[in-house]
């Protein structure tokens, strides 16, 4: 390269972009962490995010209110999550099948009902504070973000706090580790799990809303492009910890943002190989922790293991 590379603006741009583009996945991953901690895996995140994204756009276009759009997205997402919770928790259906069916349905419904809104322009969610032309310093990484970005950070911190420091969170963890013991303590396993799945779903819907309202500011069919699936993976990579889910989502966002930059600069590192590493890392981490904990515990929330695995060690 003939010119000296300006690191500072590059990093600022990457970080800001990483946070913004990683937020939808972050929401979904944080929500799914809560659900899986309670012992339920929801593979329908992709479909739920799409439903959230479409609902947000539809409501924004029809009513002009961002607040209604976001609320509607969460509601629609919760309804889908409710179906999953009903089938799995109340009727004892196979979690994988239920999630996959919802992914297909969600993709279809959002595409079908969202047709009138494809390509329609609207005023999306803007940054909280107008960055203007002046401030391009490190502060702009945060100040240029929209409200939902901060909501995601609050969700991560809040989820962590709830899981560690509240009775509700304790109940969620108990239900995910040993539902029989939890029941013996008077905790309603059913209600706790349904609640956890609902929260997870509505957060995923929020993620979809951010994607369509703030990040791309339009609706297109299948626009999540697999981010729902990535979120499921990130939950495992971050070992069921909401703050780590947020961070790994931002890392994923960084990769997304870096890709065109890397291509333009002719860098030799393939962003795809880079993107692969967290998943390989998760495989290694899962294996190592499972081996180390043989006979003494579980590497993943125990009830999750039991429902997904028939072996009892």
């Amino acid at each position: 390269m003939s010119e000296t590379f300006l690191w500072e603006p590059f990093l600022i741009a990457v970080l800001a972009g990483a946070i913004r583009s990683g937020t939808p996945v972050a929401f979904a991953a944080i929500g799914e962490t809560i659900a899986e901690r309670a012992g339920v895996i929801n593979l329908g995140l992709e479909g739920i995010m799409l439903v959230g994204a479409m609902t947000a756009v539809a409501l924004k276009v029809e009513t002009g209110s961002s607040l209604l759009a976001v609320a509607g997205a969460m509601l629609a997402a919760s309804l889908m999550a409710l179906a999953h919770a009903y089938f799995v928790v109340v009727r004892g259906a196979n979690q994988i099948v239920s999630g996959l069916a919802l992914t297909i349905l969600g993709g279809g419904l959002s595409g079908f009902l969202g047709r009138p809104y494809v390509g329609v322009r609207f005023d999306g969610l803007g940054p909280l504070r107008d960055a203007g032309g002046g401030s391009h310093g490190w502060g702009s990484i945060l100040s240029g973000q929209d409200a939902l970005v901060f909501a995601a950070m609050v969700a991560a911190a809040g989820s962590w706090a709830v899981l560690r420091r509240t009775r509700l969170g304790l109940a969620v963890r108990a239900v995910g580790e040993d539902p029989e013991a939890a029941y013996a303590q008077g905790i309603s396993v059913r209600r706790t799990r349904i609640a956890a799945v609902l929260v997870g779903g509505s957060l995923a819907g929020l993620g979809g809303a951010h994607l369509s309202l703030a990040y791309t500011q339009l609706w297109a069919e299948k626009m999540t492009a697999g981010q729902g699936w990535i979120a499921v993976g990130l939950v495992i990579v971050s070992r069921w910890s909401p703050p780590w889910a947020l961070i790994s989502a931002y890392a994923f966002g960084a990769l997304t943002v870096l890709h065109p930059q890397l291509q333009a600069s002719g860098a030799t590192v393939s962003p795809y190989l880079l993107a692969m590493t967290p998943y390989l890392g998760a495989i290694v981490a899962l294996t190592v922790t499972t081996i180390l904990l043989v006979g003494r515990g579980h590497a993943i929330p125990a009830a999750l293991a039991k429902d997904l695995q028939l072996d009892q060690r």
């Binding site: 479909g47 089938f87 349905l105 539902p179 499972t290 993943i300 028939l310």
Partner: protein, 342 residues
Amino acid sequence: MGMRLIAVRSTAVALVGGGALFLVVAVLLRSVDREVLPTLAALFRNGFGDRLGLTETLVRMTPLLLCAMAAALPAKAGLFNIGGEGQLYAGAMAASGVALYAPFVPGVLVLPAMTLAAGLAGAAWGAIPGWLRGRWGVNEVLIGLMLNYVAIFLVQHLVHGPWKDPGALGWPYTARFAPDAVLPTVGTTNLHPGLLVGVAGCVLLWALLRSTAWGFSLRIIERSPRTARYLKLPLAGHLMASLAAGAVFAALAGFGEASVVQGRLRPGLSPGYGYAGFLIAWLAGNHFLWMLPVAFLVAGLYSGADALQITAGLPSATVDVFMGLVFITALWLRASRVRAGE
């Protein structure tokens, strides 16, 4: 409850489920100003009614059936294989690698070499979660899921990088395969021997599972891994082998898609065949004979709906809505008992 009452109840439940499904579909169709019954009739006609539709259905059935087998065989040992997607891509990558970059292979051996490569790649991709589960009890669902991402990213890397088609002006796919590397097809259709492999494989597996000691071993392992250990059955070996063997089928599906349907390796080769296969296997109760009609039906619905896109102008998302509803209904019908207490 008497047997008669149970039968009546089941039929009633099935009718309610079917009725609800029909109702929802009807509402959706009316919302876009389509006549319900004629549209549904057209759907079935497109998928099964004429030669063109039937052929298209069979073409689609091939990867669906193979991926269903990939999920069902490990299920016989009690494993959940949702890594079908990754195994499919692994097979596609291996076959493509041989097709494009093994110039020393004589023309007539290219296809066998591709088959071998695909099979080995698939077996390897499936052996990883299988072995980790068998040897250390690592959850194969999560590992399989992770490996799906790895495979998809690997394909992206290859088609954007080392294997990129130089004449493709930046589009992310490889060069077209030479005619030597394309499977023989029926006439001008995309129907290739993969379907035969799938059907024959299903019948063979069904027969073997019920009449051999191996099948009995798998039944034991599926229901009680602890008993299997007590009996000194080679548990880890069986688990790994069943996942690896199932994965071979998914890999062959990938091979078929790359070689015939696409003619090259590209991302998005599979619109979720791995997951759809899992669902089909589940619908068929993991029964190798029932999988044949179920895969056929699902393939027909997909191809029929695709045709509807053109003939009736329905959005492509319609088929997903329909399939999603079908599976939800099946879920509701299957899980008809309320989970006991807690």
